[in-house]
Amino acid sequence: MKTTQLSRAIFLALLVAGSAQAAKTDVTIGMQLEPPNLDPTGGAAAAIDEVVYANVFEGLTRFGPDGSVLPALAKTWEISEDGLTYTFELQAGVAFHDSSAFDADDVTFSLERAMAEDSTNAQKQLFANIESVENVDGAVVIKLKTADGNLLFNLAWGDAVIVAPESIETLATAPVGTGPFIFKNWVQGDQIVLEKNAAYWGEAVALDKATFKFISEPTAAFAAMMAGDLDAFPNYPAPENLPQLEADPRFSVVLGSTEGETILSTNNAIEPLDNVLVRQAIAHAIDRSAIIEGAMYGYGTPIGTHFAPHHPAYVDLTGKSEYDPEKAKALLKEAGLADGFTTTLKLPPPAYARRGGEIIASQLREVGIDTEISNLEWAQWLEQVFKGKDFGLTIVSHTEPMDIGIYAKPDYYFQYDNADFQALMESFNAETDEAKRTELLQQAQNIITDDYVNGYLFQLAKTGVASVKLKGLWENSPTQANDLTGVYWED
């Protein structure tokens, strides 16, 4: 009798526990870096978009999980014959989180603000081709300077989200958008909490609450995952721990692709790196497979140019920079540097840079190139390398989607100045025919590879760890985002 009572009690307890679990509607997501602010239209940090993109803020268009451009606040659009005028029909019944209504004036305000002379937008080039933005009877009409096949893509970026003039002052600390989640609070150095937007115009989300927790130390990230403090870590920072997490039945490890071309960025404006022979020598001195294995424990796809391998226009050019130390030495000799030379190698904090840097330094030493390694924090890296251009070599992952256009900017930090390439990119931007665009993109990839502008290492893998019951997280990273709109708990 007693045993039946006991087992009944246990059964009941299990039932309660089971139903409690089924009803779970909150999620805690781990991130390595904390955003410096929460205004995606005023900051370059990827961490901003990783919190607010698609969750708090929306643009006219948006990226889907596969990188395709989908309608968001714009319901439909029409493109004029000459490709110069885009007319966007907006979603009805949309309101900002502060209850102010969303209309075409907010769109014109947001885009004009981003385009403005004094705009602090980190990706101003996205808007450079826009002539004017107008509100015509509730629809948004965008006029372009030249025909541009990129507009819908450009408007999907986190930097192009729509903000309201009423809340613009406090955007950085208390973002107000139109998305399915409302910003709740931010405990600096610890976490950001979002809550469900009950009045959301679109499909309702399954989650009631989402917490982003910031854990910079890989060791602490591992401990937090194991302790169950986190439900998911979409960009897990320590690939060496993944086999252990995978072996744990509580977690699933999802491998996907990112837009992160990890490159040995080379200062094309200083001696002797301005010599293409020297850059070619560096390219042949690098053993990509050793770097991917040693720095990323095998997670990563080798690339031979600045382009994502999963993109349809990708050309595999890794053959042009095969690992061949003898050839590298011969090229150095040809460049008049038979005894090698010394340059700097400045490394930002991520493991791909720090570990990859040590391996590359050893590989370069084999062919006679000595590197002085200095490990920098992100702020120092941005100051010295990205802004100050005071570097010889550096390793960094360019995580923006489709960013081969940076090679057309001679004042960009690696200072590649090739008029042919710049002309090519101009004709690409003006081209609207898909087949021709692909062809131009492939030409562009070939030019930068033949010029050995940078050392092309690998495409950063997205190594996501999540509870096995948590579904709907993005497998790949077509843009920097943790889109929670489709996330739910499986019973």
Binding site: N241, A290, G357, I359
Partner: protein, 271 residues
Amino acid sequence: MRLRSFILGALLVLIFFSAALISYVWTPFDITQIDIKLRFKSPDFTYWLGTDHYGRDMLSMLMIGARTSIAVAIVAVGIGMLFGVPLGLAAAAYRGRFLDEAIMRGNDLVFAFPALLIAIMITAVYGPGALNAIIAIGIFNIPVFARLSRGAALSLWKRDFILAARAAGKGVTRISFEHILPNIANLLIVQGTIQFSLGILAEAGLSFVGLGTQPPIPSWGRMLADSQTLIYTEPQLALFPGLAILLTVLGLNLLGDGLRDWLDPRLRHER
């Protein structure tokens, strides 16, 4: 018992000093070459302590790491003695006067900052690197030696043989260096070994947080930091540099204690 721990300490210190010295002419393997295929080898007859996450020989890494630690600590203690001892002697010689006050209050100021904080401050301003770590640890050592020499010298200044030297017409500087310094030398040596072990710990700590020795030069602290995420799968990578730090510091402390007992006449009589 005392003697035994002294011998143990001396032995440990000897092992690490010889490992560091030998590394200048020979290491089992070349650690500048990274071969990923050889990584995470368990200790065997080829790789006595196994290989690290880049396929480098751990024993060779530890030997060169010992060199780094010892070099940083020696120079740092050297800086501390070079500046600290004369300052302390001067303060004692002019006790109670302005110079004494100025020196000792300056010391208090440096002392008020924790050592590691000074080091982080210096490396933050002048950039990370072994040289700045040496300077940082050295600066922290100055007040230690200044205080010690002043205290010891003060009691000596009251002694008769100093009075005799003064009567013989010797100046303050000569007395300080010819009579005071030799008599406090044993104290300085003992303190030196203690500071030496603290210097090794400080270097390891700074390198652990990335402000000390920069790659590719091996450092015990950085080896520990690198093995952090691997501690569950490859615990030996953390174990060996950890043991190296522990045993060296232990050895230096035992040696310091033993030296103090041996050099201090009062303690010697008691034995």
